[in-house]
Symmetry: C2
Subunit: 345 residues, 2 copies
Amino acid sequence: MSLVNAAPSPEHPETCTGATTADAAAPTAQRGEIAVALPMRHAGVRTTALRYELQGPAGAPVVFLAGGISAHRHASASAAFAEAGWANALVAAGRALDPARHRILAFDYVGADGKLDAPIDTSDQADAIALLLDALEIDRLRAFVGYSYGAMVGLQFAARHPSRLQRLVAVSGAHKPHPYASAWRALQRRAVALGQLQCADAQGLALARQFAMLSYRTPEEFGERFDSVPEIVNGRVRCAAEDYLDAAGAQYVARTPVTAYLRLSESIDLHRIDPAAVAVPVNVVAVEGDRLVPLADSVALVEALHGRGQLRVLRSPYGHDAFLKETDRIDLILAAVLGDTGAQP
Amino acid sequence: MSLVNAAPSPEHPETCTGATTADAAAPTAQRGEIAVALPMRHAGVRTTALRYELQGPAGAPVVFLAGGISAHRHASASAAFAEAGWANALVAAGRALDPARHRILAFDYVGADGKLDAPIDTSDQADAIALLLDALEIDRLRAFVGYSYGAMVGLQFAARHPSRLQRLVAVSGAHKPHPYASAWRALQRRAVALGQLQCADAQGLALARQFAMLSYRTPEEFGERFDSVPEIVNGRVRCAAEDYLDAAGAQYVARTPVTAYLRLSESIDLHRIDPAAVAVPVNVVAVEGDRLVPLADSVALVEALHGRGQLRVLRSPYGHDAFLKETDRIDLILAAVLGDTGAQP
């Protein structure tokens, strides 16, 4: 792999941090985009853009944060980019991922712009991150914190680029997808294909997302929230959860290119790593009740990591989405596992 | 409700049983169809056909058997109707439901022919069964054995027609659907609707069925059967379970009218009974790991039945489908709970 354009070219140069010390009062953030030629596992060499956001004081240790396939480079709000990020409750003052004490780096996944219509492997994402670190002149991450797809990418990164990170925290993601979860995703992709038959792409994608929501959450949560008698509307039964599911579908469709969804969904199913190839310490965080990543798979991962793996188990009615919903408890876990890395390089 | 045509009019008169004693060597079976005017809860009075099959010697105690929404009147093979039935392994010589010692009665659910395009309540099914018993001059069932939707219908039957049965066995079905399972079914119906938009009805129904299969089975089973790396076929990822899911969808589409699927799926979600209204003994059989009917719902049902309810719990990798797959273990349970009813009236 090689950089087509190794020099970061921030889209918002006015927001580049002027702070040079870790104790700057207001954390700053910068965004940029680099073009790389990425040798992909299943798709040959492709030129693609890597869009990143880096928040926090220059010189502070860098934590790479990677979320689910819907996550992106904007992890949390800052003075420069004030809108809420996808991990806003975890990357905040006083948290383990305090952007006053760390630099938090995140990127848009390869394929997230919908322009790469080819099979994307988690190893491709890991190699892209290594290229990004080269471009940003970051030798080594203090930690890679990955959730869901991000945990899979983190495992690939740890296996392929062990010198580039001190520690991996892999939340709700394992060395391979569970076959039941893969089947669930395969059917979601079929919903998209059914919609595409007649140019009802948005409807197919909304339905896929709605089915995905069921896999991200739990019966316990639905039992609490939607336990009312269905209505009959225009002669059809309409269940209590359907308003919620409608909203979830519409919100997703508005921000997600169909091709991005399909290729990143596939990428989860392509994921496979040999835990024996991971040479750095890994904290595996599993959620009991996760319907996509069964606890048994996280246990198997930790066992296969031998002494390098440690397991933390959380019980949550939010299942696979616990990382995004149980932010106080996740922060406690992150504080415990990142604590020994210290705040300064 | 009233009978439009109370006299059974067997479609296959040549197969009507000639045996008049319970010890006839070969159990016989008859089929028939009656037309009834059924006052429906949400749809007014509708004239509909009730198609039944009754297997076993005249005079033997009658057990009504009701399965999932895909079940039908042909429960098991007989000399008269040799093809395998949907409960072939449970209704057989030597089993608790031995057709030499019982008469096994089953019917096609109201709406199963796809001709009734209206909301169908489980109480409608229960009332239809009472009309069928009238027509067949069966005063009282030795037992009603219901599985899945059939358990819901059985609970309605027990609540509305308590004098017509001695005991109910309700397997994998409760007093109300779980909101998470309802959401899952609502999305399946949306898959059908998406197909219908473009006259791809079969494709939509196949996808709905495939999603349903995931709810009927468990991750444990899929983990055993489909744990291989996905292939890339024509540039798309194809997961290990997809052949199986393709077959399941095609098989279902070949035998199921779209309207029947939609209306019976809705009917599950409309189901509600007050367990306090059930005045007969009920054996509730629950499967730990059932993703549609959580064990907690079966426990809640038994508690609300007070002294009239007894719970048996089965652990099975087949989840909701255990009734159809764990037939030896289900038979043992049926033998235990039906044993005290004796073989003769």
